[in-house]
Amino acid sequence: MAKPTTSLRTYALTRLALVLPMLWILLTLVFFMMRVAPGDPVTAALGGRLPEKELQERRHAAGYDKPLIVQYVDYLGDVARLNFGTTITDDRPVTDVIIENGSATLELTFWAMVVALSVGIGLGLVAGRLRDSGADVSIRMFGIVVYAMPAFFLGFLAQLLFGERLGWLPTSGRASPEVQFLLPTHTHLYLIDAIIYGDWATFKDVVLHLILPAATLGLIIAGVLIRLVRVNVLQTMKGDYIEAARARGIDEKSVVYRHAFKNALVPVVTVLGLQVALLMSGAVLTETTFNWPGIGFELVRYLNNRDYIAVQGIITFFALIVIFVSVLIDFVNAWIDPRVRY
């Protein structure tokens, strides 16, 4: 019983070692799911548009005439070198797609997460604290409504209200065409690029373009968080150590903030990790709605063009993100909750 607390470092190393099998399983799944579709990627994307001889050459160049197991090993090797292949339809390295469009998605999802966390946790804590009050009831309603609404519908409503009716905010793209043309890209994150560029008007333009998509995507995730945080606060407030703290004469403010809220947020971190999947699919819809040139937007386009290589590359990238986030979430959990490290 009297063991010292296991260090965070030991925990981190163990956790990182577990990434490899997880990675292997995910990559294998992606590879074989893409191969279940009939025909080969080249025929699917270009069949009928090029003479058979040229198709044959392309198949050979891409290695689709090799045995499946060899292709599989090649694929794993490529991923290890962060080479996700070249798209068939427009001959772009998938890595470029990930960097250029992925950064747009990163910018969108990051700010969506900021919205989700501040709105979701903030309102959830208020609702849990003021149980059954008017505020609680309205917050709960709000949570259900935004969660139940599909991203594109909420997006359309926002576009109609703030774009068409009020004319306050732009409804499409990452920036106005002239800004997009002039802005030098260093990081592909427009907000940071605009700051580096140092022009106030550019920065403002980028921020205005970001507001509606980020709020739309963020609110959908906030809906889940509100309910989760609220329930956890209620549960924690009933806890034995809360009563014990009150019995020691700790003032109510400390009881709520130090004992109830922090403990209530532990399970939220875990769920947040799972929400990344929702964030990804939400990003696809949000990006399409707002014409946001992100990776989800590109994924839809490549899917329509039956470009398997592009799809496989992007899905592989998504899988890597999910692994990365799950490790990150475990670290955050271990940092907050000493019992996890044990």
Partner: protein, 343 residues
């Protein structure tokens, strides 16, 4: 407050809980007194209102409960003071030790933080070094070494956690400690250890102790006086030795007969279960289970009597005779409690 006056003087305390089926009278007119350096044992079956009484004194009742009566702590009525003042009294004046130590410490906080939070909540001007010194002193008194000060609660066993909880309660030197079944969740060796700690407390600091338990052995060992509670009322109260050697209330007697010892050959129990506190039996609440029940017991509530041996008791067997109506002493014809119902 006079020098010999009680530290705690509870007068006619009543506590109701709201429930969907009606009000639950968990505590129904209880009066008890505890003096400095005295240990009062509060015993009774589960669900008779013992814990509610303890919580009611602390003002820690759940939402939706109502309280009436007086809880005088050194002449201050705890039911009348502001929430803020009551909060200030919890800890330095009255401390509560809980039944289940496993869940009473915040799992995300180090033991050190529990102590510093508790101490600074009441003495904000204390220096860090002084806070630390006092915490380690209290922990040391409970046999927890200073090396464990920065550990988290999950790194301790149940017995150790209970000792930490006690240290946490005692670090502010309270004048009254309410211990709500402090050893029920622990094994016998730890139990003995905890009881000796509580006995030291009384000896060294003249602390008053309200020991809530259903273990009569603990009462016999540790308590000066004992109050037997049944269905929200005190059935009998007096010097622990007197009550145990000459129980005046049939309930006390039956309770004592149910204690298991090495000489026990067959288990004794009281038929039936404690009554519902929403709709308790009329008159004496024990009469449906009482082997000595008389007609009067089902008609009139018993009156508190002081006996020559010193205890006070609420039972018609001890009078007053002039209040018992004609024929009231005839044995009560009771429907025997069906065996199926007992099971």
């Amino acid at each position: 407050m006079s020098a010999n006056g009680p530290v705690l003087d509870v007068r006619d305390l009543r506590v109701w809980y709201g429930s969907t089926r009606g009000a639950v009278r968990a505590v129904d007119g209880v009066s008890i007194q505890i003096r400095a350096g005295e240990v009062l044992g509060l015993v009774g079956e589960s669900g008779c209102g013992k814990s509610t009484l303890g919580r009611g004194v602390m003002g820690l009742l759940p939402d939706g409960s109502a309280v009436d009566g007086q809880v005088l702590f050194q002449d201050t009525d705890l039911l009348k003071v502001s929430d803020r003042q009551l909060r200030r009294m919890r800890g330095p004046d009255i401390a509560l030790i809980f039944q289940e130590p496993m869940t009473r410490l915040n799992p995300l906080m180090r033991i050190e933080d529990h102590f510093s939070e508790t101490i600074t909540a009441h003495e904000p001007k204390l220096s860090k070094a002084e806070v630390r010194r006092r915490s380690l002193e209290a922990l040391g008194g409970m046999g927890i070494p200073p090396t464990r000060f920065r550990n988290y609660p999950h790194e301790f066993s149940g017995g150790m956690r209970q000792r930490i909880m006690i240290a946490l309660a005692l670090v502010l030197r309270p004048k009254l400690v309410i211990a709500d079944e402090p050893t029920t969740a622990l094994d016998v060796l730890v139990e003995a250890q905890i009881l000796s700690i509580l006995a030291d407390l009384k000896r060294n600091f003249d602390t008053a102790l309200l020991l809530i338990t259903h273990n009569l052995g603990i009462v016999a060992e540790a308590c000066d006086r004992v109050a037997v509670m049944y269905a929200g009322r005190i059935a009998e109260e007096g010097d622990a030795r007197t009550v145990f050697s000459q129980p005046a209330h049939p309930y006390t007697r039956e309770l004592l007969r149910s204690v298991i010892s090495l000489n026990t050959t067959g288990l004794h129990y009281i038929p039936g279960a404690p009554p519902s506190l929403i709709d308790p039996p009329a008159a004496c609440k024990f009469h449906p289970r009482c082997p000595d029940a008389m007609r009067v017991c089902a008609q009139l509530a018993p009156v508190e009597q002081r006996l020559s041996a010193g205890q006070r008791v609420e039972c018609w067997l001890h009078g007053p005779g002039d209040r018992i109506p004609e024929g009231g002493r005839e044995p009560l014809e009771q429907e025997r409690i069906a065996v199926a119902e007992e099971a």
